[in-house]
Amino acid sequence: MAYLDHAATTPMLPEAIEAMTAQLAVTGNASSLHAAGRRARRTVEEARETLAGALGARPSEVVLTSGGTEADNLAVKGLYWSRLAADPRRTRVLASPVEHHAVLDAVDWLATHEGATVEYLPVDPYGRVHPEALREAIARDPGSVALATVMWANNEIGTIMPVRELADVAAEFDVPLHADAVQAFGQVPVDFAASGLAAMTVSGHKIGGPYGIGALLLGREHTPVPVLHGGGQERHVRSGTLDVPAVAAFAVAGRLAAEGREEFAAGVGALRDELVAAVRAAVPDVILGGDPVDRLPANAHFTFPGCEGDSLLLLLDAAGIECSTGSACTAGIAQPSHVLLATGADPDLARGTLRFSLGHTSTKEDVAAVAEAIGPAVERARSAGLS
């Protein structure tokens, strides 16, 4: 089996498994005052410090959540509500159209249920939001912007956004900018303080940590209205008993992701380049998605003209290659990728995509398997056509 879907989830690192299993046997609610509680709290706070260190943030800026989706929802909805409460004119939400559904559906929900006006920022053919586009959108009426949200790197096509420049623009107008950095963490340098972001989402299971844990990096001056109400944990913006084993393991994975990033990016990037070259050799008319240079090192995204992505998935799965079409699905029904559509791609082309995402367990053999299987698979999928 060639597992090339690390952007969906990547195997846990042995060190993270060790940290997690060690904590599973320890009792203690980090909110309790007794010795067991203090022990759990110590584990959590050390993990928070570790994560802060790995992400260029202060420990108090790390708000632990149940994962990327919750962190995105907290940032988008919470900041919208708090900014609107402070000034009722702030009803505009600026978002890139290539966001993950955790952001996209959250801003849509604000539009349909909370009276928000969502404005999608234009993107270039690589799916990138340019700072000037953000400036233009804010400048139309700076006082009415609640927040802006632009992902650090795209989960489908791998394009990296100019986060620092975007944050500078937002800062000029005092608009909080949120970035979903779930795919960026561990692959490109992610430094929260240097980024100038107000809020930033990261997730455990994309970097070799466990499922069900993530964090919203949240500048100290920002107090989003909570999505989850309860015991007041996590700066009162995210209630709920902390999952100590997951937090501990997330921190280990986060530290290793930051420490090993440069070496990982170089190694996985070289492997990815081999994969791109092999696919191009086998399928000359393939289209590489996203920015050819300024992209996630582990991401390879392709459009195969005349093919249904689903057919390719089936054929490659049968050949022992696990990848993804890259786009979201409704009840398992493939939809043309909203990311590709936003970049101006032809709707028929947007159905014929595959995303290969590499990770820490990827090998040359995985790439060789793709090189061998992709040509015949594309040929077959083409003959099956677009249904």
């Binding site: 689903d310 057919s311 998935l313 089936l314 054929l315 799965d317 049968a318 699905c329 009840a331 398992g332 029904i333 493939a334 077959r380 999928a381 003959s383 099956a384 056509g385 249904s387």
Partner: protein, 405 residues
Amino acid sequence: MTENAYPGDHGSPAPYPGRAMTQTPPQTPPQSTSARPLRVLAAMSGGVDSAVAAARAVEAGHDVTGVHLALSANPQSFRTGARGCCTIEDSRDARRAADVIGIPFYVWDLAERFREDVVDDFVAEYEAGRTPNPCLRCNEKIKFAALLDKALALGFDAVCTGHYATVVLNEDGSRELHRASDMAKDQSYVLGVLDERQLAHAMFPLGDTLTTKDEIRAEAERRGLAVAKKPDSHDICFIADGDTQGFLASRLGAAEGDIVDEAGTKVGTHQGAYGFTIGQRKGLRIGHPAADGKPRYVLDISPVNNTVTVGPAEALDVTALTAIRPRWCGAAPEGPGRYTAQLRAHGGETPVSAAMEDGELTVTFDEPVRGVAPGQAIVLYDGTRVVGSATIATTTRRAAPAATA
């Protein structure tokens, strides 16, 4: 719609006359005589039959991939009642069954093809005063055409479904479609539209099942398939609430017209002739009874002048019919012949004489039959063998010539 009985309704199956071999998946692959395992695409509705069929195909040694057909562009989240297989819940049930069986599973979006080939056709047929059977249409155009073609293109050898019917491979390599071993569960009628090429790539692992539906459920239970207790689906899958008239009214709009008796006297009004089926008794809402006090039935539907003609049950008796668009399972029959005919999915058999004349099938019934409507399919059988099917175009009534399409 009235339920009419035919001679021999639900009779026991005729003995199987000298067939070369019965096709059950392990022994006789549909594509070749070699014993190599086939790449099989199992259409999984989320119901118990298709799940057991897929499991049996796996057990027979084939390389099986499950696929659920998404036939609705806007699927409902959950099933309501016993209709359809098009909800997200059905898709999840199918996926769960595939996981238990241990096969890959995909959802294929055939909603557009289904709308064009089945739903739009269904509406157009009613609009023209005919009574279509969308299940046959789906088998002909979707499951054993759109789905089969895609499957073949992707390298599969066969499409497997949970239908109760039997494919027989003759020694000369030709194929025949036969009734299921258990006549009570037989579904060969809705497969009567398949030609030999389609049959060559069809696999019906439940066809030789002599067990009852309860036993199929028990088999599903034994295999750990959670769909074991799921209710059977009935009726038309794309009309979720079962209200065919309401569905047609929403598509075709309401148009008041007259209900007249055989003499042409107006006896009531209706909101659209398309909402009626020949042989229908309920829902006429005629205020006063007929002179003879007997119930009245829909005898004729005339979309041109939006008129529905009603009359006594006897006037429904059909002695002969013509049918168009014949499709033969194998070679077309030559000259007049003696067959049995089936006129609806759960109907019985009736003896007929049939012949092809100028590309049209003419059928004469030994005994008059009731509830025959243009648009329905007639499937001809020779013993248990499906000879072919055609779409009823005109009928001849015993008393006077009547309905035309």
